[in-house]
Amino acid sequence: MSTQTSHRLETRLLGHEVSVTLSGPWTAYWIRFLGFVMGWYFLHAGLDKIVNWPFDAGWFVGGAAQASILAPVVTPFADGAGLAFVNVAVPVGQTLIGLGLVVGGLTRVAAFFGAVLMTFFYFVNGPGGAWAHGMVNGDLLALLLFVTVVVFGSGKVFGLDGYLRGTALVENHPRLQYLLG
């Protein structure tokens, strides 16, 4: 079996034929590196909240979110059962998303929900801090990096998804491949 070190991708973009030459080793290395770092970003954030339990998201969903365009979606969770749900869902969600990306398991699902959480963080933290660092800030860049992991996947490189793709369950249900990296 031959192993190419560079690959030429040809496609159409905005009506033009375009081609991109990618280094195989650098591409594989970089998407895995990116997935691992984004995974640790959320795994650390989730574990930190769990280790220092109890976690209270009231300041976010009931406070900062009131100035956000997402207020109609977020503020109904500001108290009672809604807040209790968020107080558990955020730490557990961040931990599972991070774990999935670090081990490369269910990579695209994990990165998708990472992007969903970052959407809330971006549109609530932004106006909460008067967009003091501009509209292209760390939250938006993290959101786009999660989308990058969704687009390219990373779990097939030294990840659990490489194994999961070969299981009978995935082979018998090809649509499950969309959940993997």
């Binding site: 959407t119 106006p127 501009g134 292209v136 090809p174 969309y178």
Partner: protein, 82 residues
């Protein structure tokens, strides 16, 4: 795909350039904070960026639901951006 990215770039970059060139004078503090009055309401820019993200989401759902799953793992499945 283009519409989603276009909205995001319009909300974040194009209006950002307009703000920089034609907005009120603004200073950057020693902590990197940008202090100025916005020409285009930040809420409007937020809605434009959110619309771009939602268009991307809807496009992704459409592509996943309409694609033939048997070719999902193929390394050389032909596809054009649209």
């Amino acid at each position: 795909m283009y519409v989603g990215g276009g909205l995001l770039l319009f909300g974040a970059v194009v209006i950002g350039v307009v703000e920089t060139l034609f907005g009120s004078p603004h200073a950057v503090t020693s902590e990197g904070q940008i202090v100025h009055e916005a020409l285009v309401p930040l809420e409007v820019r937020s809605f434009i960026i959110l619309a771009g993200l939602l268009v991307w989401l809807l496009y992704a759902v459409y592509k996943v639901s309409s694609a033939d799953p048997s070719t999902a793992a193929a390394d050389s499945a032909p596809e054009t951006a649209d």
